[in-house]
């Protein structure tokens, strides 16, 4: 058990979540290609929840610290993780046996994914080009992506948003909004 605890506290922190993610992906692929196609989403989500519970439970063996009067650090996480595993397993079984509603109809998931990519791009860009430029561009690009027809009005709204964040958050609330390494490097 000591060897397992040491492994969990080290490499296990990377390996176990990766195994969990792989199992979730595999369950989705298997369900998509088999007769459970209509339930693939639900099966993947429930499998993911079971994996989260199992990985969390396993990771508790890596907690290093003292115990005090029977109340250890792993007690409560194990309780919640165990509860999650058992209940998510029940749902998973129901999904596999077709006793659940099928997946909801797929809408404009492409738009959602593009939005998520835009959000990720914003997060990546802020430390480099700063908050103000990124925020302005983000509002503009996001509006275009969602199909707002008036570009001039959209540009104006983006500019107003940047001015609002500067005045309220930077000046009034003194939140140090990042100006970006690029401009800091240029000495601005």
């Amino acid at each position: 058990m000591d060897r397992f605890s040491s492994w969990v506290a080290g490499q296990g922190q990377v390996v176990l979540p990766l195994i969990g993610a792989s199992i979730t992906l595999l369950s989705w692929v298997l369900a998509r290609t088999g007769s459970m196609r209509k339930y693939a989403g639900r099966i993947a989500v429930d499998t993911g929840l079971v994996c989260i519970g199992l990985v969390a439970y396993a990771l508790t063996y890596g907690f290093r610290g003292m115990r005090f009067a029977g109340a250890s650090a792993e007690m409560v996480p194990r309780l919640w993780a165990g509860l999650l595993v058992v209940l998510a397993l029940v749902r998973l079984l129901r999904a596999w046996t077709g006793r659940e509603d099928p997946d909801p109809e797929v809408g404009r998931v492409d738009k959602v994914l593009l939005l998520m990519a835009l959000l990720a791009a914003k997060i990546v860009c802020i430390p480099w080009v700063g908050y103000y430029i990124t925020a302005g561009l983000f509002v503009f690009a996001c509006g275009l992506l969602l199909g707002y027809p008036h570009r001039a009005r959209l540009a104006l709204v983006s500019a107003i948003w940047v001015a609002f964040s500067y005045l309220v958050f930077y000046r009034l609330l003194t939140v140090p909004l990042p100006t970006g390494q690029l401009f800091a490097g240029l000495g601005w």
Binding site: G41, R42, V45, L49, I52, G53, T60, F63, R64, G65, M66, F68, A69, G70, A71, S72, A73, E74, V76, P77, W80, A81, L83, L84, L87, R91, P104, R108, V109, K111, V112, L115, M116, L119, A120, K122, I123, I126, P127, Y131, A135, F138, V139, F140, C142, G143, L146, G147, Y148, L154, V157, W161, S165, V168, F169, L173, V175, P176, L177, P178
Partner: protein, 500 residues
Amino acid sequence: MDSLIGLFQAARDLMGLQPLLLITFGVIVGILAGAMPGVSPSMGVALMVPFTYAMSPSLALVYLAAIYLAANYGGAITAIMINTPGTPSAVVTAFDGYPLSAQGRASEALGMALIASFLGGAIGTIVLMLFAGPLANIALKFWPAEYFSLSVLGLSTIASMGGGNALKSVITAGLGLLVCTVGMDPVLGVSRFTFGNVHLFDGFEFIPMLIGMLALSEVFMEVERFDFRAQRVSDTGKAKWPSIADYWRLRMSMIRSSLIGTIVGIFPGAGATIAAFISYDVEKRLSKTPEKFGKGAPEGVVAGEAANSASVGGALVPMLTLGIPGSATAAVLMGALMIHDLQPGPELFTKNPEVVYRLFAALLIGNVIMLILGLGGSRLWINVTRVRKELLFPLIFAFAMIGSYAVNSNMWDVMVCVGFGIVGYILKRNGYPLPPFVLGMVLGNMAEQNLRRAIMMAGPTAIFQRPISVAMLAVAALSFLIPIMSARKKRKAEQAGLDA
């Protein structure tokens, strides 16, 4: 009688131009702080403390208390209009406030929230004035076992949140409770699920997670549906304000929730959010149409708002009488009092009674000013629903991100917000209700800390050794099982009807 004379004297003192302007300004600051995600009521009060250095102690307290009072109402505005609760306690208001707004009934939701806040604030203050001493003594008798049972009682409300699927509710609550254990263990300081990331040592910040889970996930869902023309319901027709008859119909909900809010607010650490959740659950159980909750029930809006506003008075009870703050904002207020050489506790009533009475009077006057400003302001907020969603959604994203950043001034919180937004979207798309997750996050720490403390003090059976604790656990078990069993009974009856 002395108290009443003291109160009238204090109210008369506050009727001057300077105190009234100060209370009005405090209410405006409070509403704005509450409405802005990332700026909590405690942060709003803390930011204003330096402005009070030159004021007299009474005026400083009056000003800061007005901010505290109004911030709880401010949180409802963004919760109703854009599903982004400005304060954690406003999350409950969003459950029904935002669906009402989406149905083109934003003015109704805002009106209900305002009146409920007003009534809740007034009842909380009156209870504070009348029962401060005895109530504080009851709260002081609670041990960790009772606090744990109180959190279990709070958790039992998830059974009625899942919209007929209790299993899904319990799973999302379990996930929330598990996420809550990320960070340093609160009792022994052991690092848990941090993966060596220093940002995780304090766990996930609540506000970014809340914004992600509720606001971003909702926007993702709406974008997936992408039928904005059909959803812009508020473009047509005039905004309908609730009538007096509407308010009258909800009077009992408001009074009940206000009383629950005040009582829960008294318990240190319980706070406005738990009060709002419990009141919401009680109203849902008592309602003849519980299926409407979560889809735009006015009772849901008033329950959350009345309870969180009433909890202000409750949270001030232990602060004024025992020197124990009942909430984070009460702790900041206490700090402000100490800056002005006033020591909260039993002696405050004997040494500086005028300060205490002015505080009571300020809360009552501030409440009236909040009502007046809210009535005028609500007509402005309604215009948000008239903004095209193609324009509103980018602004919600921008607001969510800057609000998350403002909490600790770091990009990590922005990532947490987006990450939980994606998780929330996946769960919501598959029919998992998100409110139980939030409840798990709210109650997780309180449940864990007190369970472990109780076990340390009295062994593994600690929570069953104290009568109040056992009674609360029994009520929790009943309140969890009854909605499940009645939902099952209803389903069976419907099935029998169909078969017939």
